[in-house]
Amino acid sequence: MQPDLDAAFSALSDPTRRAILARLALGEATVMQLAEPFEMTQPAVSRHLKVLESAGLISRRIEGTKRPCRLAQDGIQAIDQWLSMLRDALARNYDRLDEVLADMKPENGKEKQ
């Protein structure tokens, strides 16, 4: 499935769905396994999984009567890549701002004292 970043960001806005993804980062899980730690009904978990699946963040396979879920690497990477690019660009700017602020200090001292 093509990652859809808008749907993905929307899917990630829910804390339960983020927690489900964090659980899936540890490995594949069934609806039953996911429902347990979250103290949710299986239909409630299934609804969250549907949102995550249509956002391209997870994929499901069929194994008998079960449909275990796993992280969809393409979808996760598309988001990671964008957010980390933004984070890196901001981090570099702010590291430079630290230096600018350090240079401003003597000047501030003179003005104030």
Partner: protein, 168 residues
């Protein structure tokens, strides 16, 4: 001290926080005075901001121009909407890549934090097309996309929930 946090808020916003070892007045000035902005908002490695307009008053113009000194460049325009000296700035900005991206509405909050400042930047999550253009521009400009692990991202999501929005 220098740890940056970046979290998504709902499906429309990105919230960034960062602490600085200088009082709000200094950090605010570094965000509004052209001579200071040019020093730190200089763009990717090897780039500079030769032209900087920052009219720090309501409806004041913003225009930042970046160049790599080899004929490559891009610029940003915007307007200041609200300014509360040393504590808060609200402005809109758009990048020209070269087509203008949709307006990004940005709120910057400067809070005293001990002898330093806690900076909170709240911006609109750009639409899919803009994100793609930013990513492409970032790649062209040699920003290396280091992959953040999913655990880190989801952990950041939890942090934002537990810390609460500053000022909330």
């Amino acid at each position: 001290m220098s740890k940056i946090t970046l979290t998504t808020e709902g499906d429309r916003h990105i919230v960034v926080t960062r602490r600085f070892a200088a009082p709000p007045e200094a950090v605010y000035r570094a965000h509004t005075e052209p001579k200071l902005l040019q020093k730190w908002l200089s763009g990717p490695e090897g780039w500079t901001m030769p032209a900087c307009i920052s009219e720090a008053r309501p409806n004041g113009k913003i225009r930042f121009e970046w160049t790599n000194g080899k004929g490559g460049g891009f610029y940003l325009t915007g307007e200041y909407l609200e300014l509360e000296p040393f504590s808060r700035i609200v402005h809109v900005e758009r990048m020209h890549l070269p087509d203008p991206t949709p307006d990004n509405h940005v709120e910057t909050i400067f809070q005293a934090d001990g002898t330093g400042t806690l900076l909170t930047l709240r911006m609109t999550l750009p639409d899919a097309e803009t994100r793609a253009a930013m990513l492409k521009t970032g790649m062209e400009h040699g920003m290396e996309a280091s992959y953040v692990r999913l655990e880190a991202m989801t952990a950041a999501g939890h942090n934002s929930a537990s810390q609460g929005a500053p000022g909330a």
